[in-house]
């Protein structure tokens, strides 16, 4: 099993979700996060007080998938999340030791 952790632009979330659904991925967890990589932030001014905002809003997707679908799913995800500009985000892939379905004790890939 692999875990895919993708940090993407918030406005790309719907497209990514649709694309993953279309290839039969039906579980994911998302959270609203803030962060930055090489992308520079922006400047805000309130009554002359300037603030550099470098942590920008992003969406983090987490999904755990069977090993054999890794390639297909990451390619789909990346294609859907891409705008081609700095700030599009990153995808990280981890090995997962085990999974347990809380409802009925299924383990391993059967729990996904």
């Amino acid at each position: 099993m692999k875990k895919i952790e993708a940090v993407i632009q918030p406005h790309k979330l719907d497209q990514v979700k649709e694309a993953l659904k279309a290839i039969g991925v039906d579980g994911m967890t998302i959270s609203e996060v803030r962060g930055h990589g090489r992308q520079k932030g922006h400047k805000e001014v309130y009554r002359g007080m300037e603030y550099d905002v470098d942590l920008l809003p992003k969406v983090k997707l987490e999904l755990v998938i069977p090993d054999n679908r890794l390639d297909e799913i990451t390619r789909t995800l990346v294609a859907a999340a891409r705008t081609g500009k700095i700030g599009d985000g990153k995808v990280f892939v981890y090995d997962v030791a085990d999974a347990i379905r809380i409802r009925n004790d299924d383990t391993g890939e059967a729990a996904l």
Binding site: E44, V45, Y46, R47, G48, M49, Y51
Partner: protein, 467 residues
């Protein structure tokens, strides 16, 4: 139609009562009697109109404090201090009301010396439905009293912009009780009370024009705000940590309520539903509009982008500046006053504040102190007897008011009025802060400030969205 019926029903028995004996006597008595009735009923009608308008104005001015100012200020602080900031405004609606009833109205509008009123209206003694002809001959004195109360409420609430996010609540209460007593009531008496030192219309020795409170409300509160900001020191982390306004949406709503409420503040200061009220209404609106544009354009030019925080700040700056002038100036001078206030206050809160480095949290000084001073001075320039017919010589001829009427000396009088209000505000506020600091301590503890005043002072949080 109903009204006509009602009039007939009332008028017939009255007329008949006079008419029947009149037939027995001579004709001239009957005409006199009819005239007396007519006079009485036209007076009653005027009184009804004026009173209706003034009660609405009183409510409008209260609306400026809550929710107007509470929202305007509340949106500008961080989320951990929004409730405490709104509380500063709201609690004063209660505290100052009690002070006003016990002794405030008397100290402001009682017959006294040039500096402070006497005690004859203590506990509102003798303040009833009969008009106080010195101030407003057509409305019950109670209406005048409750209308003036709303000004006493908003003035200390304006100061809270300077000490927001770091003052202890107990200290804030004690401070405002003392401040209202020592600074506001005497200042209101000096400018508006009969025989007050600066009262141009009721026997003051230095005639100063302040239609709705440029000196009394905005200079006193704005200058006191600066003293508070300097005395309390900067908020922890200022200016290193970001302290962005947490909700500009509610600030915009607050500013819009202030704009509307200000019609009650300025036009109501005519104390009657008169043409003068209309002039003040028009000047107020034009001043606010021009100031909004003044600040916005200055900000666009200097900062690169026109912000809505800038637009609403400019609007308030213009309303402040037009306040003393509103019942004295024509529409275009009103726009000029507003436009210059918008630009002037923009530079005060951006360039001047950052140069000196004081932490006037919500720019109570930069907007009210600076705008009020500019407005009070420009009133001396643009006041004209074409708008305000309050000053006449013995033969009934209108006297020139401001520089535009040829009375250059008025600018000097306005300057003296400004100086006196600055001096009273600085000295009064410093002394009061010292006393409050000795008694309870003015500043919240470091832990309380970091936790946020909502939790540390009031035990509650504004936004419980996840529970």
């Amino acid at each position: 139609m109903n009204q006509i019926k009602r009039l007939c029903c009332c008028a017939f028995p009255v007329l008949a009562a006079f008419a029947i004996p009149a037939m027995a006597q001579n004709v001239s008595t009957s005409v006199d009697a009819k005239l007396a009735i007519l006079e009485a009923s036209s007076k009653a009608a005027q009184s009804a109109g004026d009173n209706a308008w003034m009660l609405v104005c009183a409510a409008l001015v209260l609306m400026m404090t809550g929710p107007g100012l509470a929202l305007f200020y509340g949106g500008l602080v961080r989320p951990k201090n929004v409730l405490s900031t709104m509380m500063h405004s709201f609690i004063l609606m209660a505290v100052v009301t009690v002070l006003w009833a016990v002794y405030g109205y008397s100290l402001a509008f009682g017959q006294g010396n040039p500096f402070v009123g006497g005690l004859q209206y203590l506990f509102l003694n003798g303040v009833g439905n009969a008009p106080n002809t010195d101030y407003a001959a057509t409305i019950p004195q109670q209406t005048f009293m409750i209308y003036q109360l709303m000004f006493a409420i908003i003035t200390p609430a304006l100061i809270s912009g300077a000490f927001a996010e770091r003052m202890k609540f107990s200290a804030m209460l004690l401070f405002t009780v003392l401040w209202t007593t020592v600074v506001y009531f005497p200042m209101a008496h000096m400018v508006w009370g009969k025989g007050g030192l600066l009262n141009a219309f009721l026997g003051g020795s230095i005639p100063c024009f302040d239609f709705a409170g440029g000196t009394v409300v905005h200079i006193t509160s704005g200058v006191s705000a600066l003293v508070c900001a300097l005395y309390l020191g900067k908020r922890l982390g200022f200016p290193r940590e970001p302290m962005k306004p947490h909700n500009l949406v509610i600030s915009v709503i607050g500013a819009c309520l202030l704009w509307v409420g200000w019609f009650g503040f300025n036009a109501g200061s005519a104390l009657a539903a008169s043409g003068l009220a209309t002039s003040a209404f028009v000047a107020t609106h034009f001043g606010a509009a021009a100031a909004t544009l003044g600040w916005t354009l200055a900000e666009w030019w200097r900062m690169g982008k026109p912000s809505i925080l800038g637009a609403i700040s400019g609007c308030v700056a213009g309303l402040v500046a037009i306040t003393p002038a509103s019942g004295f100036v024509r529409p275009f001078p009103a726009m000029l006053i507003g436009f210059s206030a918008g630009i002037f206050c923009f530079f005060m809160v951006t360039a001047v504040k950052s140069k000196f480095g004081y932490d006037d949290t919500l720019d109570a000084f930069g907007v009210h102190g600076a705008g009020g001073t500019l407005g009070a001075l420009l009133t001396g320039v643009f006041a004209t007897n074409a708008i305000n017919e309050g000053l006449k010589d013995a033969s009934g001829k209108l006297l020139p008011l401001g520089l535009v009427d040829g009375n250059a000396a008025q600018v000097g009088n306005q300057f003296i009025g400004v100086l006196i209000s600055w001096a009273l505000a600085i000295v009064g506020t410093l002394v009061i802060l010292k006393i409050v600091d000795m008694l309870v301590g003015v500043r919240a503890s470091k832990e309380d400030e970091i936790e946020g005043l909502d939790l540390s002072m009031h035990g509650e949080e504004a936004y419980n969205l996840e529970s």
